[in-house]
C-alpha cells in the first residue's frame, strides 16, 4: 500500500505536442493518500484511462513524475511497480485452476510454496472463492472471473495499489450490487489504495471516498460524493452527476436578485461576480419543490420511474426537470420553489461563492 504523488503530469499521444489541444491529459498535480479509495469519473475520451495506464506503467507519461511513497517510479515498467489491475473484460488464465490463477503472481516472484498456499487460501476466503478453488477458470461466469482478477492483486502482500478499469461493464445488474458492496467491504477491511475508472456515476460515487471528475483531459473537480452532488464546481459536474442532471438556466443577477426571463426571485446571498461574465443558475431536480407557490411552470410530461417521478416542465421557455416522490402528484396550478441554499451560481461555467 502506498501514497501516490502525481507531479505535473501531462500526456500526449503525439510525438511533439505544440498546443494544449494536443494533450490527451492536461496538467494533473495531485496526491492520493495511502489506503484511499479514488474514482476517476468522466465520459469516454476524457483522459481517465490514459491517467490510469500512466499510474500502472502501461503507458510512459510524456511529462511529469509519479511517486509511490516518495519513490520515483516514472521510468518503471508495470511489473516493477507492484500494482494490480482489474480490466473491463475479465482476464483469467483459462488453463489454470482458480487456485493457480491466484498463485501465479506469487510464483512469478519466487515466493515459497508454503507461503503461496497460505496467502492464496486466505485470499480465496476473502473473496468467497474457496468453493471454486480447484475448478478450471475457463467457463466460470463473468463475475467470478472478475473476482479472480481482483484476487490476483489482493494475494500480493506488497501491492502498492489496485487499479480498476470499468470492472463491472459485463456484469448483470443484480451481481453488480453484490460485487460493488463486496469491493467496498474489502477496502474497509484491508485498506488497499484503490483507483477505480468508470463512466458510471453510481459506481464511482458509491465506491470512492474521493471522486475525481474529468472532462476533456482535465480534472474539473475532486470531492466527496456529497460535495459533487451538492456543490458541483463546474456545470459539467452538475450535468454529469445525478440523473437527471442538474438544471442549468441562464440567469441575470443584480445583487441578491436573480432573474430568469421575466421571473424574479431572491438568492440566499450575493454571488461574487466579476462583471461581464456569462451567468447561469444551477439547481438539482431533487431540490425543486413542486407546489402551488413560487414561480409558475408549465408541466409537459410526468415520467413514472418507479421509485420516484420525473416531472418535465418549463419556466417560460426554459426546460427544467423536477423529481417528486412516488406517491406525490402534480398540482392543478403548478408552481416551483428553488430551495435557497441549494442554488448555485455559475460564471462562465465555474461556480462562484455567495457572499453575505
Amino acid at each position: 500500500m502506498a501514497r501516490i504523488d502525481l507531479q505535473h503530469l501531462r500526456h500526449s499521444y503525439i510525438e511533439n505536442p505544440i498546443g494544449v489541444e494536443d494533450y490527451a491529459l492536461k496538467e494533473v498535480d495531485y496526491t492520493w493518500e495511502d489506503g484511499g479509495a479514488y474514482a476517476l469519473l468522466g465520459p469516454s475520451g476524457c483522459g481517465k484511462t490514459t491517467l490510469l495506464n500512466i499510474i500502472s506503467g502501461l503507458l510512459r507519461v510524456s511529462e511529469g513524475k509519479i511517486l509511490f511513497d516518495g519513490k520515483d517510479v516514472t521510468a518503471l515498467q508495470p511489473e516493477g511497480r507492484n500494482i494490480a489491475q482489474v480490466f473491463q473484460f475479465p482476464v483469467v488464465y483459462d488453463t489454470m485452476s482458480v487456485h493457480d490463477n491466484l498463485a501465479f503472481p506469487l510464483r512469478n516472484r519466487g515466493v515459497g510454496e508454503d507461503e503461496v498456499k497460505r496467502r492464496v487460501s486466505e485470499t480465496l476466503d476473502m473473496l468467497d472463492l474457496t468453493k471454486w478453488s480447484d475448478r478450471k477458470a475457463r467457463g466460470l461466469t463473468a463475475d467470478v472471473k472478475q473476482k479472480i482478477s481482483l484476487g490476483r492483486g489482493m494475494v500480493r502482500s506488497d501491492v502498492n495499489a489496485i487499479l480498476f478499469d470499468e470492472p463491472l461493464t459485463v456484469i448483470d445488474p443484480h451481481l453488480k450490487w453484490q460485487l460493488r458492496s463486496q469491493l467496498k467491504l474489502l477496502h474497509k477491511q484491508f485498506g488497499h489504495t484503490m483507483v477505480y475508472v468508470t463512466h458510471d456515476q453510481t459506481e464511482a460515487l458509491t465506491f470512492a471516498d474521493k471522486v475525481v471528475v474529468m472532462y476533456e483531459g482535465e480534472i474539473v473537480q475532486i470531492g466527496t460524493p456529497e460535495e459533487l452532488f451538492e456543490r458541483p464546481s463546474h456545470t459539467f459536474v452538475g450535468y454529469f452527476i445525478g440523473s437527471p442532471g442538474m438544471n442549468v438556466l441562464p440567469v441575470d443577477i443584480e445583487g441578491r436578485t436573480a432573474r430568469i426571463g421575466s421571473t424574479e426571485f431572491e438568492l440566499a446571498g450575493v454571488p461574487e461576480l466579476k462583471p461581464g461574465s456569462r451567468t447561469d443558475l444551477g439547481i438539482r431536480p431533487e431540490f425543486i419543490v413542486l407546489g402551488e407557490e413560487g414561480i409558475p411552470v408549465s408541466v409537459n410530461k410526468v415520467e413514472d420511474v418507479g421509485h420516484h417521478k420525473i416531472v418535465r416542465a418549463a419556466i417560460q421557455d426554459q426546460d427544467i426537470s423536477i423529481v417528486i416522490d412516488e406517491n406525490a402528484s402534480v398540482p392543478a396550478d403548478p408552481h416551483v420553489v428553488f430551495e435557497p441554499d441549494r442554488v448555485s451560481i455559475y460564471a462562465n461555467d465555474w461556480r462562484v461563492e455567495m457572499g453575505g
Binding site: P78, F104, N108
Partner: protein, 287 residues
Amino acid sequence: MNKTQNNKAWFLVLPVLLIVSLNAIVPLMTVVNYSVQETFGNNLFFFEGVKWFREVLASERFRASLLRQFSFTFIILAIEIPLGVAIALSMPKKGIWASVCLVLMSLPLLIPWNVVGAMWNIFALPDIGLLGYTLNAIGFDYNFTSQAISAWFTVILMDVWHWTSLVVLLAYAGLRSIDDSYYQAARIDGASRWAVFRYIQLPKLKHVLTLAFLLRFIDSFMIYTEPFVLTGGGPGNTTTFLSIDLVKSALGEFNLGAAGAMSLIYFLMTLLVCWLFYTLAMRGEEK
C-alpha cells in the same frame, strides 16, 4: 397447427448431392468393390471377402511403407508446428513489416507441388545444386539419389520449407486475436516471457493449432507429388511412402484388389487418427 410443408426446397440440394456422389461416394464404393474381389483381367471378378485385407495387413512391404509414413509425418509435425509457432511469435505485430512478412510467408504456399519437387531436385543435386554442392563443399557426404539419410533429409527439409508457412499464418492470426489486456495483466503479474507463452498464448492458440495439426497430418499422409518428383521413392524403397506404394501397386503392378484394400486401411487410419486427436484436443471444452 397443421402447416403446409413445402418440400420443393430439397431439390436445391440435389446438385451438391450429385457432385459429392460423383467425386466421393462413387470412387469410394469402387475402391470398396475392388478390395473384396480378385481379377485376372478381361473384366472377370471373383468375390474374395477379406482376403486382400488380411494379405495387406500381413505383408512386410505394407508395414514398411506404413512405418516410413508415420515416421515422416511425425518428424515433419514435430518440426513444422513448433517452428511455425516460433516464427509467428517473432513476426512484427503491425506496420509495413508485418505485411512484408506475411507476403514472404505465403510465397511457398503458392507454388504447385510438382514445381516444388522439381525445384528441390535441382537445388539438392550434389554436383550443381546450391544445397547439394554447398553441403559437399563443407565436408558432408551428401547425395540424395544414393543415400537413404540424404534422401530423407531432403524430403523433410522440402516439406518443412513448403508447409511451415501454413502453420505460421494460422498461428499468427491466432496470436493477433488475443486481447491486449491479457498481456497487460501478465506484465502486472510479473509473468516471464515463457509464462506468457505457456499460459496465455498457447491456450489461446489451441484451436488454430488443432486445425494446423489436422491439416498437416492429413496432407502429409497424402504426400505424393513432391517426393515422387524428387526421389521417385528411392533410393531403393527408402522414401516410398504409403501413397507412392499405393500407386505402384495399383498402376505399376495392376494389383487392384490389394491396392483397394490398402486405400481403405489408409483411409480408415487417417480418419481414426483425426478423430482421436480432435476428441483429445477438444476434451473438457464446453460447446
